[in-house]
Amino acid sequence: MIKKVDKILNVCSFSFFDWDKINPAKGNNPNDPIDTFKKNNIIFGENGNGKSNLINIFKSLNGQDIELEKHWDYLSEKQEIKLILDNNSETFFINSEWSNNILHDKFIVFDKHFVDKYVHSLGPGDRDSSLRRQERGKNIIYLGNFASYNNEIDKIDTLKNTISEKNEAYLKGKEFEINTIISNKNITIEELQENKTKIEKLKENDLKNRKNKLEKEENKLDKISNALKEKDKIKELLFLDEIGTGFSLIAQMIEEGKEKEIEINPPEIFSFTTSKGVQATLNKIYHKKDFIKTGLSLLDSQKGICPFCEQKIKNGDYIQTIKDYQKIFDQSFAEEEQNIKKLLSEYRKVLEGIRDLQVSTKNKNIWKQIIQFISIDKELPNVFISDEDRDVIKNELSLILEKEKNILDEIRGTKIAQVRGIIEKTNKLTKEYNDLVIEINKKIKQLKKDMVEGKLVVQKSDIVKDISELDKEIFFIENKKSIKRYFEILKNYESNKKVVESLEKLFTLLKNKIIDEFNNFVSNYFSLIKSFVKEISPTMDIFEIEGESRYDRRSREATQCGFCIKYKGKECTRSLSEGEKQVIALSFFFAQLKKENNKKKIIVFDDPITSFDAGKRKSTAEVTQRETNDFGQLFIFTCDPLFREFCLNQFSDRNFYYIFKTKGSSSIHYVPKKRETIYDSFETDFKNMDSINGSNENVVIFGQKLRFCLETKIKEDYFGYSQDSLSNMIKQVSSKGKSKFDKLIDNKDMILQIYNYCNTGGLAHYPKDGSTSWNELKDKIKQYLDLDL
């Protein structure tokens, strides 16, 4: 709140104004101690006295581009303005600049400029202009807090962009890291993403298996590449030979004219003796006679006793019979002996076969060829017996030799158990060998076939693919930690992206919402204007007041708001009277106050009622009081005495001021409710003039006081100038009494002479041409005092 305009020097019509020298200090006027601006202030001044200049000072404080000119008589003098605010802070205007921005954007001024800017041209025939539509739009943006709404939208927009940029940078940074790892393997980020599930399933303990597999596949690739290079060699490739069949102690023997499989039993062979030969012979013939069977069972234990009759064989008894038998025995024995020899021979063959067992050189050569083209997991086994086994075989062969030399001698020392083990072992080895040979031969056969059918290229391509896959899998396992981290980042990135999408959605919703809100606001705003029109001028409610508006926050002219007044659907702005136009302009202003969010602002009315009748002046005073009640401070400037009185009556808590210009300078005069007190105060000053220094400043100050006393006293006290009704005016006039009026009439020439001196005479040009002086002013003041008005 402004406490007072402490000083105005050389600004427009205020060539010299000092608040404290004109207005009584607090406490000097016991009837009305409030000597500074109040919340509500009514400032009365006739045209040309300096009201507009004071308003311009307020506008300049508000930040408007207003030039505060120097007084034309003091163009070389310095300017100065000093304002004191209610918190006793001060603001100065020195060197064409305000010392601070305390009051910047703190005023809302209703004046011709406001009307012209927002409502309509005051000149004739000027329709609503696009500039005015834009200004109105801007005003609505301000009043509806749409700038703050816009900030919210912009905030969401920039936040969205910031997050998006940050998210992209976040991913890019991490992609750079992972790229440095994967680029060596020619793996792309996209490939990594495509293989995400697979990579997540890969386990570290699979690494060794995969590496082995890779090695094999690479080996296969070498072979198949070789095969493709040397196709002729594949054609000529030979098959491996199997080695001899298994060793066995089963011999093929002919017995009684029939071929039979007989098991070679070395212990039995080596223990073949005469008795054993006989036994064997008897065994062969036992089935011929039962008694022989019985005899045979007794033959061993009863030597010299006939096995058949149990008598001693003596004296040729039964000799013939025995001889007959002997004959049979000899033949059988010889056959048995032959069998033993044959079995020994078979046994030797088996042993020698084992001893001499070895892989053919041919196979070795073929092997060297095929391993160039075929991958074989196993090596061909080395088929030979150990030295230990060789010794056993050698020993066994010696025993055979010995037995063959002495067929009927029992030979001891056979190691048949070990021999059987060696046979088994050797057979196993040869089987392994042959199995591998069969397997490899199959591969050779397949290779030849595939080559003929042209399948090798496809196979090579498949292997290359497999190798590539394996290679990548190994890479993925080895770098799983980094890749997993990248996937986490990717997940975060996608999640952040969703936030950006949500912000985009919010942004669109907000953009649509602000337009809804804008349209609602405009509709409500125009309803308010209409309601104010109805209140100030009830007869005008037949008019329709509309505003077509649009809002596009991104376009250069974000908002536009039309304004038209219609009567029976037809635009009628141009045919409105000045009074009607002013009602609409005021209503527009009151709607603005209603919508204003900052209620601390200072409201300034620059004569809002110039074309109003008494009714509208009264309703304007009422609405003004109500609608400005919540604001920080109010200044009503008027040149209309009736409106002034309506306002003085309407506002209980208010101060009243006059603005006068003595031509030397404008001045603001505080007017107490009981005006006599100010006259008394000034007239006391006049009486003490002899003790006051006659400086230029005092010439101006006392000149201002003189005019105030002379003019207001006569106008207000004698003629009831400020009374709102004729009866009050008559009451005021008659209260002065006839003798006072007689004196006024008798001294009219003197009064006019003093008034002219103040208004257009000597003081008017002071001190430009020195046409007046302190003494001249003192004379005029003395004349005034002598009048005793």
Partner: protein, 61 residues
């Protein structure tokens, strides 16, 4: 005439009923008085954003 109540509602509050729970949570985590970097930090604290740094609550704990 009724006094106009001072506008304090934010535009963002006017669209709250048009958005999903996640978006509502997002709105409520945005302090319009703060700058973008501070808002991003707040969103990270609420685990709405994740830039893999210590701003996130779960990473802090």
């Amino acid at each position: 005439m009724e006094k106009e109540s001072k506008k304090e509602i934010k535009l963002i509050d006017l669209i709250k009923n048009q958005v999903k729970t996640d978006e509502k949570k997002l709105i409520e985590s945005i302090d319009f008085e703060k700058n973008n970097e501070e808002i991003i930090q707040d969103l990270a604290k609420h685990n709405i954003l994740n830039f893999g740094d210590s701003q996130n609550n779960d990473k802090k704990s």
